[in-house]
């Protein structure tokens, strides 16, 4: 099964839409609650990253009986040093974003922790691609 979401950069009131929808689907599929939780937390972090940093992006979710594969891709500033961004607490979020309670710099490491496979690719000035997999 495939589901696709468009994400609007800068619109925090809509952040969390994709993760809520995916959560509903996973509950319908009788996926174990703990696994659902990890997926939703990882997806929510990634979704907020697009909203907070990029101009726009898409989320493509593919579900089969063994796993969920989530493909996120955005048009945005990109990440200059990925290994730095993967460190806990590192953040380039603006003051504004931080005041909203986002951008604490736990995003990428948190996504990695909550998924079984995690790939990240980024090009400065173009955008970032994330691929994450979680097995049921």
């Amino acid at each position: 099964m495939q589901v696709k979401f468009d994400v609007e950069g800068g619109n925090f009131s809509k952040a969390g839409h994709a993760s809520s929808q995916v959560k509903k689907i996973l509950k319908q599929l009788n996926v174990a609650p703990k696994i659902i939780k990890s997926i939703v937390v990882a997806l929510y972090e990634a979704e907020v990253n697009i909203v907070a940093h990029a101009y726009n992006g898409t989320i493509e979710v593919t579900i089969d009986p063994q796993k969920i594969l989530i493909n996120l891709s955005d048009n945005g500033p990109g990440i200059a040093d990925i290994s730095l961004a993967m460190q806990e607490g590192f953040s380039t979020a603006s003051q504004e974003v931080r005041q909203m309670g986002f951008g604490a710099g736990m995003g990428l490491p948190n996504i990695k922790r909550n998924t079984d496979e995690f790939e990240i690719e980024s090009e400065v000035g173009k955008g970032t691609k994330l691929i994450m997999t979680k097995f049921f």
Partner: protein, 459 residues
């Protein structure tokens, strides 16, 4: 575990139901369908919140209760009621008059649920300190919320505080006191006067407990009516203030929103209204909330003042209760509530078993089959109009599609799809009409001037 059925107190009066579909739309678990022209509640999904009862324009939903005559079987007949009950009565009626009204109905004792609340308050504090790992800790106060968690948020059952509800504590407390005074166990009948359907279900089939010590349940609106009928003859009443021993300001406020959360040492929030609760639980599941230590969650707007079995306006009830609370002292240590009581035993018996999850959202236990069903439902959605009119008997097009893949509904249940097929010559007008009659009952579409809003409606 799956085979255990819930006890439910909300029933449909089939003679009154006019299949208007108001109820199917408001149900927070999509538990109601219209089948053959009548509302039918799915017992596995219903959480007894009472939203259907509120939405019904013809009072077709009712709350099953025990016969008041039953109290006569006992020598000591205790009316156990939440403080919210007092708040319904107009200001010119005194607490004393209300208590006397209860005695006139036939009770020998009247006791407010919140009288020993300091015991529970201390226990909740202790519990929160000992279980800080499963944050947010969710109060076990509202039984409708607990059932909502079991069916819609199964992963959060671990967060529910494993302590019994105030009515259990109060019943134990009353029983202890009566036994102390020399009453025999079999002579004691404790009757809970309930503000809602969920409390009934919780008493009849407690979640996380084996058996309730409450002997029967009477609906609060019935008691209210009986007291009001007699209130005029109640001028020269006896003093009943001794019956309210131990009642505190915090006790009176406990049933209102923020009644529990305000006492929490850590970061606490109070949320009321079942649809607000759902929105907040979604956030908690996504970890979209800051760290919260204690959550007070109530299914009714304005908590128990908005209970479906209360009479009058919930905001007026809140206002009166707040005024009433000021006449009582704040709660002190439980050791001071009654020297005769065995606080240690009370506390011991307040521990409850874990709450089991009872998920209902899944389409199939087998993941591959569930996925296949979900794919089919999504394909069906391509054909449904997305109007969510409810004319198929399901609350939304998506719900109808899900019913279809569970073989509980068919394509022709959608009236718009039927129209389309008719215009394409795929189905005869006669057949289409027959399909509709099957769903809604044979006489459903005959003109009827007695219906609500029609020419001959009698009020």
């Amino acid at each position: 575990m799956d085979s255990v059925r819930y006890h439910h107190a909300i029933k449909v009066n089939l003679d009154k139901c006019v299949s208007c579909t108001h109820c199917i739309k408001v149900c927070p678990t999509e538990a109601i369908r219209v089948i053959k022209g009548k509302a039918v509640i799915n017992k596995d999904r219903c959480v007894d919140c009472g939203e259907c009862l509120r939405a019904c324009p013809v009072n077709a939903f009712y709350v099953e209760q025990d016969d008041l005559l039953q109290i006569q079987k006992y020598k000591h007949r205790v009316a156990l009621f939440p403080a919210a009950m007092i708040g319904q009565f107009p200001e010119n009626i005194t607490e004393n008059q209300i208590y006397n009204g209860l005695l006139q109905i036939g009770f020998t004792h009247a006791h407010e649920v919140e009288q020993p609340i300091s015991v529970l308050k201390e226990m909740v504090d202790e519990y929160c300190q000992q279980h800080s790992e499963s944050k947010p800790l969710i109060s076990s106060y509202c039984p409708a919320v607990i059932r909502l968690i079991q069916v819609r948020y199964p992963s959060m059952t671990e967060n529910i505080i494993r302590l019994k509800a105030p009515h259990d504590l109060a019943a134990l407390n009353v029983k202890q006191a009566l036994l102390e005074d020399g009453a025999k166990e079999e002579e004691i009948g404790i009757f809970y006067i309930t503000p809602c359907a969920a409390k009934i279900a919780a008493v009849k089939q407690p979640v996380g407990e084996e058996e309730s010590i409450i002997n029967g349940i009477i609906n609060m609106n019935e008691v209210y009516n009986r007291i009001m009928l007699n209130i005029e003859n109640n001028k020269e009443e006896q003093d009943t203030s001794h019956m309210r021993q131990g009642l505190t300001r915090d006790g009176v406020l406990w049933c209102l929103t923020d009644g529990e959360a305000i006492h929490s040492e850590g970061r606490a929030m109070a949320i009321d209204g079942i649809h607000n609760v759902i929105k907040f639980f979604e956030r908690i599941e996504n970890e979209e909330t800051p760290e919260i230590d204690f959550l007070e969650v109530r299914a009714c707007d304005q908590s128990c003042a908005g209970g479906i079995l209360l009479t009058g306006n919930r905001f007026l009830t809140v206002e009166r209760l707040r005024k009433r609370a000021l006449r009582y002292q704040p709660a002190t240590s439980s050791n001071k509530i009654d020297a005769k009581l065995d606080i240690a035993t009370l506390k011991q018996s307040l521990h409850a078993a874990p709450i089991p999850p009872k998920p209902i959202m899944m389409l199939d236990k087998d993941m591959a089959r569930a996925l296949e069903k979900l794919n089919r439902a999504r394909s069906i959605m391509c054909h449904l109009p997305g109007i969510d009119c409810g004319a198929c008997g399901a609350p939304s097009c998506m719900a109808l599609a899900e019913d279809m893949v569970q073989q509980k509904a068919k394509m022709s249940d959608c009236i718009f799809l039927q129209q389309r097929w008719q215009s394409q010559g795929k189905i005869s007008a006669k057949k289409a009409y027959k399909n509709m009659e099957e769903k809604w009952g044979e006489d459903r579409f005959e003109p009827d001037c007695n219906k609500k809003g029609a020419k001959n409606e009698s009020f």
